[in-house]
């Protein structure tokens, strides 16, 4: 290494630029404590500062920022959901995403690819038509296309799926479907929040939440007690470890979801392809790697272990869909936690405990909702009232029997 470069590297006058500060220690008191330094938690801190001038905020993260669901999803953004409530919400998210790189002054590599949800049966095609009609009604670009159009847009696809499954009958095509650099979303929000004065405490774990007269009065961490009147739990897959601290019961069950990345290939797939029947979704990253995920692991587990079963399954389904991939290698695999709800919609907003707000139930649909969840949760905390867009997602919907059924649009299709 040239001597000058080495000298430059060690020169204190030119420190390596950091995205955010690492505050030395926790303060005694904050206006808001956010548990979870993923995109949702950091984003909520960002919008609290930007939109409401609330900056005495601590984001408490047990590991490192973006190390949970934010950095483990397959980075797909889309809004072709099944219900009015869902489609409206995710559409608002896409609109925020489209402008986020500029707002952050940070390239998120937000790339609109077009998103295909393949139908392998007449019944599946019927659900796609239903989704397309709901989408069109709400002004979302979405349509059902036939097999020949699928083949024209993705020529490498085997419409017969290797003969192992019923052939492709058509697809729901959603042109605005996109991929983005997921960790950059966390960094962008972290930097923005940090600049506004929010403190981000990594390697800090919440051990209990103090409640008096049904209201939050503080948070215990492994680095001491913090006084606060408002706590946002934005920990997705770890929510079931937090809710018992405040005595809240939820319908959440946690399952791992695994994904793989292939060796880099020349660009050939500029679309996002999803098949619920094959339990598969795949896109090609800017680096040429194929990013592929599957459905949930089949039983409850709060652990991010990987399995050979999954790699075998996802590989064989990839080859069913794209026979030319028979010889490519899998580079790495990982798992993320999915906190699943019975209706495949999130749980957001106020709770029966004053000052305790929840942003959970992000199952397999959390990344694409990051900006809008952050923004609406910030509004909910600031005004102590559920934002209009997330009213349907309040935890109380279960005791009111008013579910928001998104299974037909959210399971597997990411």
């Amino acid at each position: 290494m040239p001597h000058r470069l080495l000298k430059f590297g060690f020169n204190k006058e030119h420190p390596e630029p950091r995205m955010f500060h690492a505050p030395a220690q926790l303060k005694d008191e904050y206006d808001v404590v956010i548990i979870g330094g993923g995109g949702h938690g950091l984003g909520a801190a960002y919008y609290l500062a930007r939109d409401y001038g609330i900056t005495n905020v601590a984001v408490i993260e047990k590991g490192y920022i973006g190390g949970g669901g934010t950095g483990r999803n397959t980075a797909i953004v889309r809004s072709n959901y099944l219900t009015n409530e869902g489609a409206r919400f995710y559409q608002a998210s896409i609109e925020l995403f489209q402008d986020l790189s500029r707002e952050f002054d940070l390239n998120l590599f937000y790339s609109e690819r077009g998103h295909f949800t393949l139908a392998h049966s007449p019944a599946s095609l019927r659900t796609q038509r239903w989704r397309a009609e709901v989408n069109k009604h709400l002004g979302i670009d979405s349509e059902v296309i036939g097999p020949s159009e699928v083949k024209r847009l993705v020529p490498e696809i085997d419409l017969q799926c290797g003969g192992h499954l019923s052939p492709i009958h058509g697809a729901l095509y959603h042109p605005p479907g996109a991929v983005a650099r997921h960790d950059a979303v966390a960094w962008g929000y972290a930097r923005g929040a940090d600049r506004a004065g929010v403190e981000i405490h990594q390697q800090t774990e919440v051990t209990d939440i103090e409640i008096r007269d049904h209201a939050v009065i503080g948070v215990h961490t492994d680095k001491g007690f913090i006084k606060t009147g408002k706590v946002l739990s934005a920990v997705a897959g770890w929510t079931t470890a937090i809710t018992p601290m405040v005595g809240l019961r939820t319908p959440l069950t946690v399952h791992p979801l695994q994904a793989v990345v292939s060796e880099p290939l020349k660009p050939w797939l500029d679309k996002i392809v999803v098949s619920a029947s094959l339990h598969l979704y795949v896109s090609q990253s800017a680096r040429g790697e194929l990013v592929a995920g599957a459905s949930l692991d089949p039983y409850e587990l709060i652990s991010m272990r990987s399995t050979l079963d999954f790699t075998e399954g996802v590989s064989s389904h990839l080859v069913d869909l794209f026979p030319m991939l028979g010889d490519i290698k899998i580079m790495r695999q990982w798992a993320g936690l999915c906190d699943m709800t019975p209706d495949f919609s999130p749980i957001m907003g106020t709770t029966p405990i004053d000052g305790f707000y929840i942003d959970a139930g992000w199952g397999t649909w959390g990344f694409k909702a990051t900006p809008i969840s952050a923004k609406t949760m910030a509004a909910t905390l600031a005004e102590d009232k559920d934002h209009e867009l997330i009213e349907p997602f309040n935890l109380s919907r279960f005791s009111r029997w008013q579910l928001v059924g998104e299974k037909g649009a959210a399971s597997v299709g990411h």
Partner: protein
């Protein structure tokens, strides 16, 4: 390969089983409030730790109960509902 002890068929690979959800007591519908019934229908414990679960050995059609740590994925014991424990 993960091995589960079926109380009837002995140690078998995970691939021979299906997960059937947490074991829960169903309240008598006519004797509880709507809120209690909704709590039964939707809410789950979901916490990290040991939970009682239904498992199904598909090849033989055997439903049984497993006590499993849902964080470490360790099966503590398995037994038939109201019946005998596995030799495991």
């Amino acid at each position: 390969m993960k091995i589960i002890h079926c109380p009837i068929n002995g140690p078998r690979p995970l691939q021979e089983f299906h997960f059937g959800g947490q074991v829960r007591e169903m309240p008598v519908g006519s004797q509880v409030s709507d809120a209690e019934w909704a709590d039964y229908v939707f809410n789950r414990s979901g916490e990290p730790g040991i939970q009682r679960e239904w498992w199904y050995h598909t090849a033989s059609g055997t439903w049984f109960i497993a006590e499993r740590d849902c964080q470490s994925d360790e099966f503590i014991r398995t037994y038939l509902y109201g019946g005998r424990e596995s030799d495991a």
